[in-house]
């Protein structure tokens, strides 16, 4: 029997899925083929390990939980199936709320920036005023300008 490259036969043999004729032929082959004997032993050990795994008891409260779901109205069962579970909705809702707050905050600051006075027209107006003013540019600073006027007309705070 050809088994090399068809080791599925060995698994099927271990599972009792071969006909009596196929099983007999495989047994004969295994007895004379060290590679297939080793394959057989390895697969049998793996199957045995899984078969020995202990059974788990169904949690007792799970029966009651399922029964409670059965008696829920149809629309609630459909909603449970369509919507994500609560454990997903809560973090998702928190994230959405945080994103909304951040968007509002950034939006407000952007509006404030838009409403601030642009610098370029202000400088242009200042330059135009400086060119057209009768007062010399070095005396355009308000404090100096006042000092010049005071020097010309006399300081009103000076009682003498």
């Amino acid at each position: 029997m050809k088994t090399h490259g068809e080791n599925e036969l060995i698994s099927a043999y271990l599972d009792g899925e071969l006909s009596e004729q196929e099983a007999r032929a495989l047994r004969e082959h295994i007895s004379s083929c060290p590679a297939c004997r080793e394959e057989h032993a390895g697969l049998r050990a793996t199957k045995s390990l899984l078969a020995r795994a202990p059974r788990r008891a169904m949690p007792p409260e799970l029966v009651a939980q399922i029964e409670a779901r059965l008696t829920r109205p149809l629309w609630k069962r459909m909603r449970d199936r369509i919507l994500p579970p609560f454990t997903v909705l809560v973090p998702a809702g928190a994230f959405a709320a945080a994103a909304l707050v951040a968007a509002v905050w950034f939006g407000a600051h952007r509006v404030a920036d838009d409403q601030s006075i642009p610098l370029e027209p202000l400088l242009a107006a200042h330059s135009r005023y400086a060119a057209e003013a009768l007062v010399p540019p070095t005396e355009l600073v308000a404090a100096n300008y006042s000092a010049q006027l005071n020097a010309y007309y006399g300081d009103p705070t000076d009682q003498e």
Partner: protein, 197 residues
Amino acid sequence: MSPRTFRSLGRSISVGDSGGFSELIRQCGEKAYNFAFRLSGNEQDARDLVSAAFVRAWEHFGSYETDKPFESWLYKILHNIYLDEVRRYAHSHTVSLDAPAPREETSWDELLPGADPELDSGLLRREEDEMAQKALSSLPPHYRAAVALCDMEKLSYEEISEIMSCPVGTVRSRVHQGRELLRKAFAQLHKTGVKHP
């Protein structure tokens, strides 16, 4: 339960009586829960899977063919729900149902304690169980389901093919490939010096 009992149960379900179905939950719940646990690898997901499977069976009880075992039908529903969840996950991640799964970050020697002759048999069984589950969880979903149904639920290839909606030859291939992948995992344990059953 006989086919006649199932037909009677179907009539009571159609009028909203859940009493008979509760008996089915008690009879088949343990098997469904074990299969779900082997597929998902954790208790919470197993609970969700079993719960969803029974609710869907209740809703579609009219389509159940009463001459076939109810457990096989329930397994099929549960397996479909499981695959839906895997596909949903795969939609946002790269996961193949057939290709070998990527190795987990944790190495085998971290997962398993060293061999100690003083350990009692109960502890050894628990360690064996943990090892078997870790190895199973490393398999791609189709291989995992086929091996769990064959070696743990002890179903025939014919029953598994019905549950997994595939030909018997595909089941044979998946069972064998699954065992080969498990063997490789166990062989690695040997290399790290951990006692292998």
